[in-house]
Every structure is written in C-alpha cells, then in structure tokens.
Symmetry: C2
Subunit: 356 residues, 2 copies
Amino acid sequence: MRKEEGLEKRAQRVAKPVLEVLAGRVLDPPPLWLMRQAGRYLPEYREVRARVSGFLELCYTPELAVEVTLQPLRRFPLDAAILFSDILVVPHALGMEVRFLEGEGPKLEPLRGPADLARLDADRLHERLRPVYGTVATLARELPPRVTLIGFSGAPWTLACYMLEGGGSKDWLAARRAALAEPAFFERLIGLLTDSVVAYLSAQIAHGAEVVQLFDSWAGVLPESETRRWVIEPARRIAEALAARHPGVPLIAFPRGIGPLYPAFVEAVRPAGVGLDTTVPCGWARDALPGDTALQGNLDPVTLLVGGDPLAEEVARIRDAFRARPHIFNLGHGILPQTPVAHVEALISHLHSRGR
Amino acid sequence: MRKEEGLEKRAQRVAKPVLEVLAGRVLDPPPLWLMRQAGRYLPEYREVRARVSGFLELCYTPELAVEVTLQPLRRFPLDAAILFSDILVVPHALGMEVRFLEGEGPKLEPLRGPADLARLDADRLHERLRPVYGTVATLARELPPRVTLIGFSGAPWTLACYMLEGGGSKDWLAARRAALAEPAFFERLIGLLTDSVVAYLSAQIAHGAEVVQLFDSWAGVLPESETRRWVIEPARRIAEALAARHPGVPLIAFPRGIGPLYPAFVEAVRPAGVGLDTTVPCGWARDALPGDTALQGNLDPVTLLVGGDPLAEEVARIRDAFRARPHIFNLGHGILPQTPVAHVEALISHLHSRGR
C-alpha cells in the first residue's frame, strides 16, 4: 500500500507518462521507448562510437555516454531515456577482464570453478562503476521533464552465463552445467551477483535513475526447477532489497523467454512492470498476468526492420490487446542495427494517429 | 473417432508401448526413447561416422544408417527407434546443395528471393530420398517386436530457416525478414515445403514407419501472428493430409520453444502426441493441454549430461507430473555428444525402479 502511494505521488509530481503507467494508470497512446534506442541504427551513434577505441570506454566516459543516451531523444518523442551502458560492466567491476571484439561480441576469461571466485572483488564495485553513476547524475539533470530516466542491470543468471562461458553462446552449456554439477559454487556466484546488482541499481537510483530495469536476457534456456532457482528467486531478492531501500521506485523485470513461467515470475517478484519478449502472445499475457502490473513490449524488432504494412498491423494488434491495461510500448528485444530510422518514425506515427 | 479406433487396433495388434501411449493409454513406467539416441555420444557411432567422408553419405547409405539406428537399441531397452537421417535431406532432395562441415554445422547456398524457387525441383524428391526409404524398410523388418519405428521430417518453418539463412543462426533473421518483407515468396516456399514434407512422411509410412515426428526446431523465435501462420497452419495441413492418407498412423509434433502457444498448436493440429521442449513446465503442460494428447519429454539434456542426484530428482519430477497422463519419456532437446553412456543407463534405472 505504501509503495503504491509512493508511486502515485511521484507520478503526479513529475507527470511522466512512463511513471504514470508504472503506477497503474492506463494511457492512450501508451508511452514509448525502445530497447537499445541508443545504438548502431543511428548514424550519430556510429560517429561517437568511432571516436573511442573500445566499447567499454564509451560506457565509462560520462560525456560520451550522456551524448549517446540523449541522441534518440533529439530525433524521436520518446518517453524514456535508458542509461547507455552494458550489462557486462558488473562482471568487469567485479574484476573480470571484458573485451568487445568487432563483429565477435564480448570476450571474458571464464570462471572455471570455486577457486576462480577469488578473482572477483566486490569491494571495488562502486569505485569501478563511478563513471556510470556520473552518467546517470548528468542525465538526471539534463533530461526533458516528461522523459523518465531508466537505469538497468543484467540479472544474475544472465551475468553468470557470460562469466562461465567467456562470451556469447547458443546454448550456455558451461553455465547450465555448472548450475547442476557444482550447485554450491553456482549458488555462491549467484549470491554475489545478486548482492552486486542490488548495490549497482541502488547507486543508480541514488544518482537519479527514476526506474530500473533488470535484463535476464538468457532466462529462457532453463527447465522449470532451475528457472525458479536461478531466475525467479534472485529477481525476487533484488526486488525486495530495492523496495526496502528505495520505496516507490519502480522496477521493470525482463525475464526474456520464460514463456509459461511469466505468471509465476510476476507473482513471486511483483515488479511494477514486466517486459514481454517478442514471442509472448499479447492476449495470453493480458489474461495470465495481474491487472496492476504494467506490461512492456513487445513488437518484434524484425517487424520494425521491415516496416510497411506488417509494422502498422502489428502495432495495432499490440495496442488493441493491451488497450485496457497499463502498457508501455516497446520492442520485445533490442532494436536491430540495420533498422531504418524512418521506420522508428513510422512506428511513432502509428502509435499517435490511433490514440489521439 | 475413426482415427482413434485405428490407433487402438494397431496398439493391440503389436503391443508396442509407444503406440499404446499414442493411442491414449497411461503406462507405468512410461515408454522411453531419446532424441538423437543414435549419435556422437556412442563410441560405436563415431566409429561408423569415421568410415564415411560426409554426413549425408551416412544418411544415404542404408546399411550404415540402419546400423547406427540400431546401435542404441543394442545397449539400452529403448521403446522406439528413430530413423537415422537429418532434417536437411528435404532441402537436399529439392535440389539444394547441403554440406556438413566438421565443427561448423550445415552450409547451404541460401535462397535469395522468388527467382531462386526455380532452383527447387520437387519432382525428383522421392528419387533422391529413395535410400532413406530403403533404410526405413530394412528397419521395419529388423526391429524387435516391441520397438516402435519412428520416421521424421523437419517442419516447413525450420527448413525455410536453413534454406534462407544458408546454415545455422542465432536469430534466423534472413527467414524472419523474408516472411514479413516478401510474404508471397515465403508463402510459396512454405507451401512447397509443406507438400514435400507430406510426400516424404507419407513415403516413410508406406515403407514401414509406424509413427512420424515433425521437428520444428526453430518454432520458438516468432511472434504470435507468425507462429500461427508459419508453424501452426503448416503443421495442421501436414497432420490433416497424413490422417487422410494413413488413418491411424500417429503423428508426434515438436514445435520447440513455442511456450504459451502449445495449447493453440495442439488444438489446431490435434497430433496424437506432442513433444515438450526442456523449458516447458510439466504441471502447466499437464493442465493446459488436452488429456487425450500424449505428452513426450522433457528432461533437460544438460541434466542427463551431469547425471547424479540432479538426474534422479528431475526424472522423478517429470514422472510425477505426468503420472496420470499418456506420457512418452524423452529429452526436451537432442542428447548432447558429451553425455556419458552410463548416465543413459542411470536414467533407465531410475525410470524402471520407480514404476515396477
């Protein structure tokens, strides 16, 4: 009850559509932002990216991170800005080497077992992430009044996937194997990551993030028992800890790909909003998830890439399904680098022409 | 009604556990087979594989394909043999070049658009697939009486994924883009593949396959509207055509990864059995799917790889969930090459010690 009053008050004070929806209001048209809205599909982003040698340098240079965060807002009437950063700053801040190789994705020296936990050092987390907090603080001052500032972190399971695999993977076999074969080690790793994510998101909020989103990008590869243990339970602990420290600051959880377990996730975690991935049927989500949870999503990035009639039809379908619900329009996965800027404009035009 | 009587009769005549369950009976313990049970985790398979230069040569040489199909049955008391072949024999039989490169997966010269449909020639399908039919015919004669012979095919969507991408992919962007951007072309391709799959499975049945399984391995990447169009509708047409030509021969459909759309799939396709992938919560599937549909699955291959207590616990969990339902025990995805043979033996021991 107290939490909801806090949300309500905040939404009234700032009159920000994203916060209003996260407080349970239905807006027509729904507010809009796009996962990876600051990114390679924008020529001005590519120009900034070319100025730095490494991707992490971009994340850790506040003036550049602020600049790329603001770029999409100059082009489009988006309702939120999401901190420009990467989920792998947490493993990096714990002491792991993280490199981004052009066209290959991230590379880490993988953790091999319990002894490697000694390589991780949580004491210097905030010190190493200080530039990110600087970016958040600047954004909090510079954003237009109706734009909500969203901070974010990778979720423990997804971070563990990269830390054990040493990079991207189709099947995340190293993490899935460790979770079953070395549960004590894996439990310690997830515990360390859970605490680190709480500390990281908490600092983002302290520096001005108005909402935080928890990305569990690889939640969808596990059987039920492990989804409950490594995805749902850590998210529940993070939500609980953040609610205690920062009552009224909404959490959007994005357990990508968990399909039929979305209801169990929402029931346990009780986030203010839940991100629906591309594959989630809208009608099913509407009927299966509690009415006071804001639903965020879930346009297929490929539909945005293709544009034209398929885009118009799909936007209408998603709008119709969530018409009576608190809904934040978004993609169901990050925007694709090849997406024409004109298609984002078309999406906005479809949203606004129907709603007003 | 007629179809069910046919199934019933067949199950009584042959007394094969897999056919009994597909006819709606509950068996304790449930019958067992494993996806990719003939494969690289067996040393005797690797020995045969080393004798041929290409993977397709193995699929197209009946004496070798029969040998590797039978290998797991000599080791384990499995209730089904599945034809040793590959889903890409259909694109190959339609005239596409398909190569399997060691450690890299399959490579095809991808279809680029409507003009490339001229490269596909359905008239020679049966001629090119004749060796596969020879394998099926030999297996039908040689299998022990209680073992069910399962034929299979890739489903149209999954085949189209490989044909447009030219190989494996994380996101199947080429196929997803073509499906939206060139729907007339894509519809023709799916139509051609649907007809080819019907012809192929029908010939397998004519040569002695007692059950056929339809693998839609990449069904789980699409939004709802496209899942209905490219996954569910082709499967429905295939099921309908096979039921008309071969009444009483059960179909097991495996729309891997479609999550909350499993019920819509089963309602439209009405297969005798449905394969549940690793991520499907058993209790949810039990409650959401019709009681006369046999449920097949869904042990995580990683759990089989790890063995020990996690394997014992997970086998018990799956057994308990499906205790009152027609259930064929299987993995939720193909067995991993690194799986110790002893873990398959342990799985069988867990299944049999509880049930008898």
